[in-house]
């Protein structure tokens, strides 16, 4: 059967495409970034996705898992950043450059960037919550003139848990980009801010008018940050997040990712807080 049959609307649906790991970089404890390329050149050259979409990644002999796409869709080296939590992610961490994996996708809705034009963008990321937001941040950086203020607020447990350290350095030096970092538990040599990520809001003089906020992180962080944003008067439809659910098929069939009346794999993973409120489930 030809591979083309498995592409619907330009997506690789059932049979994964073989991809090669080109390079692996350590991020933080248990987290690595894998640079990949799809072996079939024709498919690789036509492979397109939107910020906020995800793919299903097969580790041969172990299984498949859902993973965000942190690079911007334009002009950014293709990669995934993965934390070991179980069987499949651990198997991926055991691979080396040159090894093969399988990729299926892209799936999901992505961020509606058209609607964000002319607005301030506030990214609030707790820990590895920066992974699903990275694509959108780099996109904003590449199209800075389309937006007002762009703020990245990143908090982690300790300085060693801060994500994408080199990227953050770059972003800091980029004109019109504001980056604020904090840790919950500082080490003796930490010179930056301490406290949970929302404690940065005053320091950052957080814009509220004409502002879109992106929030991603562990459930406790999510709830506190959303509470603080609403208190400051940000409308709930201007707050975006990407939800995570147990996923198997990625195409709206297995129902594992059902949340409320929606499916995270096809209706999400990007939701506004207004939608999340009506889902009637925990985050």
């Amino acid at each position: 059967m030809s591979q083309v049959l498995n592409i619907q609307n330009g997506k690789i649906v059932t049979v994964p495409e073989v991809a090669t790991i080109e390079e692996i970089r350590d991020e933080i404890r248990e987290v690595k970034t894998f640079y990949l390329s799809i072996d079939n050149k024709e498919i690789w050259n036509n492979f397109k996705y939107k910020s906020g979409q995800f793919i299903m990644c097969t580790i041969f002999g172990a299984g498949e898992f859902a993973v965000s796409l942190p690079p911007s869709p334009e002009n950014d080296r293709f990669h995934i950043t993965v934390r070991t939590v179980g069987k499949v992610t651990s198997a991926l961490h055991g691979l080396k450059p040159g090894d093969k994996v399988g990729l299926r996708g892209p799936f999901g809705n992505g961020f509606p960037f058209e609607e964000f034009k002319g607005k301030n963008l506030v990214y609030v990321a707790g820990g590895i919550g920066l992974i699903p937001l990275r694509s959108s941040i780099v996109h904003a950086l590449q199209h800075k003139k389309d937006f007002g203020r762009v703020l990245v607020l990143h908090g982690a447990r300790t300085p060693d848990d801060l994500m994408y350290k080199e990227n953050i350095k770059e972003w800091q030096s980029f004109e019109g980009f504001e980056t604020y970092i904090t840790v919950d538990a500082p080490t003796p040599d930490w010179k930056g801010e301490t406290g949970f990520v929302h404690t940065l809001f005053d320091k950052a003089n957080l814009p509220v008018e004409n502002t879109i906020a992106f929030v991603c992180g562990p459930p406790v962080m999510f709830n506190t940050v959303i509470g603080e944003l609403l208190k400051r008067g940000l409308p709930d439809e201007n707050i975006y997040s990407t939800l995570e659910r147990h996923m198997k098929c990625g195409i709206g069939k297995c129902q594992h990712c059902a949340v409320g009346r929606t499916l995270v794999c096809t209706d999400g993973p990007v939701y506004t807080y207004r939608q999340i409120k009506t889902l009637g489930e925990e985050i």
């Binding site: 040159g98 069939k253 059902a258």
Partner: protein, 355 residues
Amino acid sequence: MTMFLIKKADVGNIAQELSREYQIYGPMIEKGSGQTFFDRAQDLAEINLSAPIPSNPPKSVVFPQMERILSYEYDRAKNAVKMEPDYKIEPRALVGLRPCDLAGILCLDRFFMGQEFVDEVYLNHRKKMFIVTNTCVAPFKQCFCVCTDSGPAAGEGYDLNLTDLGKECLVEVGSEKGTALAAKLALKPANDSHLAMKKEKVDKSIAMFEGIAVDSKAWISRVMNRVTTGFVKEDVWEYVGDQCFECGACTFVCPSCSCFNIADVNNPECAGCADRLRTWDSCSYEGYSRMAGGHNPRKPVEDRRNKRFFCKLSYSQMKKYLRPGCVGCGRCAWVCPGDIGLPNVVTYVRREITR
């Protein structure tokens, strides 16, 4: 529509003719237990069109309980991957399907093939399938297809439909495949008078529900409104949740339930070879939505129960299936150890409305 007549004694010829091209599945009464099962016929004579509604729905023929959807081999020495969407699907004919079970398959059709993404494995099963339905000239105890618009006569979606008219059977043709088969059997044409006889049979069957189908009184439309608009009170779902043993039985016997799991299983006989299997799953299981770090957004069992009933009884599902997700077969009520089959849950919700 083209219609034919076949002598009752010759009905077996249909399966006989189909068996040249298809594996034959149909309702059979198991000798020891006296129960009806819908299964592959080793001997065509076992198929019994007047057997009661089978304990298991024919769902497994088109959506097997476990099936391979991919096989691959990762040769580490050569660093090469071979992948096959290796479905190995045989042509199958379902003979003697009840209308409710046909409606179940049509639900699955819409769900697997009628949305943004098409499920190729399912599509392959469906393309190779022949369906012969059998009008229910009398309901069974637990039936309520009249409330879910799925019986006792089949509307569309069959290749051939049979109706027992006494000495003869009316054969209605519903597809090109059906036309071709009828031609091979050289059947006698039927006319409008036979159709009128069928209508009489069906009307009579519907009239019998009040006396025979006494187990389930599921008046679904009002309840659908309630479930959709979220007006079912917490305590109803809690009560339903409390009764549930999380055994998954209701899901597995339901002709329209389709949740599945996917796992890669290594082949012990070949290094680097694995099969990607999909297996039935149930939204009532505790681990169904559990995520990394043990976080489970859907903890209480009433959350999970309410998922299944929402799936069967809400307008958003209506949009997907163009009918309720429940086809009125009553099987979940048979198997549920907690006594919360769909008809009972409908009753609890209705009681709340009238309270």
